[in-house]
Amino acid sequence: MTQKNRLEGGQIDRSRPLNFTFDGKSYSGFQGDTLASALLANDVRLMGRSFKYHRPRGPLTAGSEEPNAIVELREGARKEPNTRATTAELFDGLVAKSQNRWPSLAFDAMAINDRLSNFLTAGFYYKTFMWPASFWEKLYEPIIRKAAGLGTLATDPDPDSYDKGYRHCDLLIIGAGPAGLMAALTAGRAGAEVILADEDFTMGGRLNAEAMPIADQSCSDWAAGVVVELSNMPNVRLMTRTTVIGAFDHGIYGALERVSDHLAVPAEGKPRQILWRIYSKQAILSAGATERPIAFENNDRPGIMLASAMRSYANRWAVTPSQRIAVFTNNDDGHRTASDLHAKGVKVAAVIDVRADAPSSGDYEVLKGAHVADTMGRLGLTFVKVTRADGSERVLECGALGVSGGWNPNVHLASHQRGRPVWNEKIAAFGPGDTLPQGMHAAGAASGILSTHGTLESGVETARRALDAIGIKAKAPALPEAEDAPIQITPFWHVSGAKRAWLDQQNDVTTKDVKLAHQENFRSVEHLKRYTTLGMATDQGKTSNMGGLAIMAELAGKPIPEVGTTIFRPPYTPTAIGAFAGRSRDEDFRPVRKTPSHFWAEEQGAVFVEVGMWLRAQWFPREGETHWRQSVDREVLQTRKSVGICDVTTLGKIDVQGTDAATFLNKIYCNPFAKVPVGKVRYGLMLREDGIAMDDGTAARFAEDHFVVTTTTANAVAVYRHMEFVRQCLFPDLDVQLISTTEAWAQYSVAGPNARKLLEKVIDPQHDISNEAFPYMACGEISIGGVRARLFRISFSGELAYEIAVPTRYGDALIRRLMAAGEEFDAVVYGTEALGVMRIEKGHAAGNELNGTTTALNLGMGRMVNKKKDSIGSTLSEREGLNTEDAFKLVGLKPVDPEKPVPAGSHLMTKGDPVDAAHDQGYVTSACFSPNLGHHIALAYLKRGDARIGEVIRLVSPLTEIDHEVEVVSAHFIDPEGERLRV
């Protein structure tokens, strides 16, 4: 393929040609090209269609501010819509497609919208699709979406990975143009830890795009030389392809590094992108400036671009958008484009300068005091119509027009913490004010200094000032000789009288839309933005906001600074959600916690359930069992008949020591703990400060000054945090020390009539665990096969039961030993479902009952709140509202028709009452099928429940169409007297 618009020179590697396709057509470019530069080299100016009117568009810029050349890159799962052709690095085999067109880019049927533009003005959608409301979702929205869509998403999961990372530095320098490079050189030579980040793949900023010299070198060579020196400094880290996307508190910056976007596929194990969190002591914003266009009639045709972009394409990429160009400018910088392209052999039709006193040139014609009145060319610029100072018209033939309306400092990051930009009359633009984020300094073009000499000097001085603030004295490097042209600009925002002069090319907002918004009384810039969509979408108005503000100011008869700017928010450029997620996706979304019997349970074919981060065995299916209920029923029945084993390691374990350990627990729990004998366990209920039940568990006293507290699995962390708060803040004078030992011990429950017999086989023979020696609620230290162990005689199932703990490394061995020893008893292992069934049968409260709204009184434990002592929550549990006559009480429920379920979440109604919230009597908290009773059972909170045992009430769940009768019974379905526990 020929690259007919390729010029001589440039910073591309002609020895490395690259092939790529655009809309199915093959082209070639070179290493160092962007997709946009390569397409322009191949004489492709048309790269996209606009969002609303489907107008043909080409690149307006050569950087990340691009509104028009928005394309889809790659295919399949790696397809990425809405990327900028101007920043996409070319690689061999790149597949790119235009978007928002049908059936093709050259002939887009949706361009009919353009003909209807008189109707599709600002607020059209708001005004038109209001009525009838029911049409919105089914009719209007799908149509609008189809017409206004951007690219289409890949529907497969993203195969690439993303990392997050953290870096630290004394000085973060954002942007590696002349100011950033000099700042880095100053700080690097002073020995400061420096990070220099730039969004481009080559550092240098505008220095890579300009033809003027620095010292005796081309400015790109000078930049490359500085980068070499910096890269040899161990205290300087250079981060290319890295966009600083946000300025956050305390000198923290977000930065997105595109590690592999320039490759077809990331290298093995490598991320596609890394979202860095950079901790800086000081930061320099040297992000440069963005040139702004001028609005005139039909200023959006492919081939019309910013003059600086045209210069970048010519100088850096050796590309001209056309062999015959023109320039429209209001300042001296525009003339540079003409002279640079002229020097490269491109024909300059004319420079149209709005200033009557514009400089002249011997190389090309300058039309002074003139403006562009209109343009021609359906899919690309062919002619420009100029109105001259004397009012006469002239038509210029050209394939490209460079437009320069002046430069806007990139103040975005300076404004991320609500810093307000300040109007700078000298450059007719907003610059950073004095409200920058703490530790940030602006330098170079970002601070409104536009000459090369000025930016170099500003980089040095700003770095010295920033380093001085953190006590580092830096010497000023000698400044190389560079141009120092004064700024000559006459503000000129738009050609008046234009019918279709585009301000925001990405959102198709014209000067007329801004006028309409003003006419309809949208006076705040924020309202203007929302009403017209000016400055929305992926480019966030980087090239358009200023023009909108200027016109707004003109209409309101106010100076521009009084109109102000909209709020700047991160990210600076579009950032993939994947980068924010990092590695936290799919199976790595969160770490998992595995119990000590996990590997054994896997061997048994256990079905696991996530409980917080824990993976717990839910049940253990055996051959022939086809339904979970079969497994669970078997596990429950066999445990109550003989013996069952369950991994209960997940329960929180907190080691409480100190001479005041018992006093401390007396504060934590509402029931008394001071007199628990050594070698005994006590059940405890802890209340929140407001009197609501927080958690329950046990505390085992191993010594006068040593307890082991257990918590529920779900509340392990919350209870530990609460206890630390109480220790450190409420009772700092108590001698008590806490540490979690949840992970340190593997703990199993051994429950059922044969529990003792089984344990006696497992533990070392010197330990007597007979009922007399080791009664209900005993605890002690024993050994198993010589390994230290702890034994607790506690029961959640209601059976004769023990919990036995060994250091976690022996947990796997212990479950194998318990199961082997249990063979003669037909011992079963049971999971969380069977555990749940047995605790409901026994009437034990769990998380469902301790739901953050219930009190000890509701739980039927009102008398546990000991009034002979003070404990947390005790006083507030006496509040009137928590102690009403019709307070909820925990009861059991069984269906009148034994075939019926009693689902959790159902509500209870007194028979004969209407089914409504006003008559609600309570709700079901836990429910299961009891294989021992042969029917469903449930626990419920019922008003005055303790006085209503035997009453038949109505169970309703209107949403799931449940409405039948249940009988109120004691919550203790099995062994209500607790005899089994004590044998």
């Binding site: 979690s740 949840t742 947990g811 020893a821």
Partner: protein, 190 residues
């Protein structure tokens, strides 16, 4: 008596009989299984006595904030005000907590922590790996420093034992996840 019961064979945090080791480019990740650990927390009014015991044990001053003191056979690092973790070889000090209780007497609360942690050694060029894992500024984590941080959502300690030797302690139940995160970062960084 039927068949003898299975022996009480310990497993590593990753669930194996032997420690796992992975080499990737310039970094090596090794599971550390030979450590006995115990926490030492000074009791009220006993802070000086406790520190004295600790310093006798370590042959030098008790570790201050963020410090790690390496000694043979015991080492210790600071984990909170008047609170430390002491480590020693498991083979010789399986009963570390009991020994410390005897040594410290009423001056400290001692809790066995041997199996509360999964421990990994990261050796070699670890900085590019660590900066993908945690917000610690590795240049300030000099040899003899210990810091608490978050790795892969998990609360961990990172201690620097040598220029090229980091030791990472994380919650044992998440050993697999932590190991996976470390390996993934090694492959991404090198």
């Amino acid at each position: 008596m039927s068949n003898p019961l299975p022996e009480m064979i310990p497993l590593s945090a990753l669930g194996g009989r032997a420690a796992q080791k992975h080499v990737h480019g310039p970094v090596t990740l090794t599971e550390v299984t030979h450590l006995a650990l115990a926490s030492v927390a000074a009791r009220h009014g006993q802070e000086d006595a406790c520190k004295k015991h600790l310093s006798t044990l370590l042959g030098q001053a008790a570790p201050d904030v963020e410090e790690l003191v390496m000694n043979d056979p015991e080492a210790a690092f600071w984990i909170g005000p008047n609170q430390w973790i002491v480590g020693a070889p498991h083979d010789s000090h399986e009963d570390l907590a009991a020994r410390l209780i005897t040594r410290f007497g009423p001056s400290a609360s001692i809790t066995e922590q041997s199996d509360a942690w999964a421990v990994f050694d990261l050796q070699g060029d670890a900085l590019p790996v660590m900066e993908l894992l945690c917000p610690i500024d590795m240049r300030t984590l000099t040899v003899g420093r210990a810091r608490r941080t978050t790795i892969d959502h998990l609360g961990c300690f990172v201690t620097r034992r040598g220029e090229d030797h980091l030791r990472i302690l994380g919650p044992r139940s998440s050993a697999g996840s932590l190991h996976h995160a470390l390996l993934t970062a090694m492959r991404a960084a090198h």
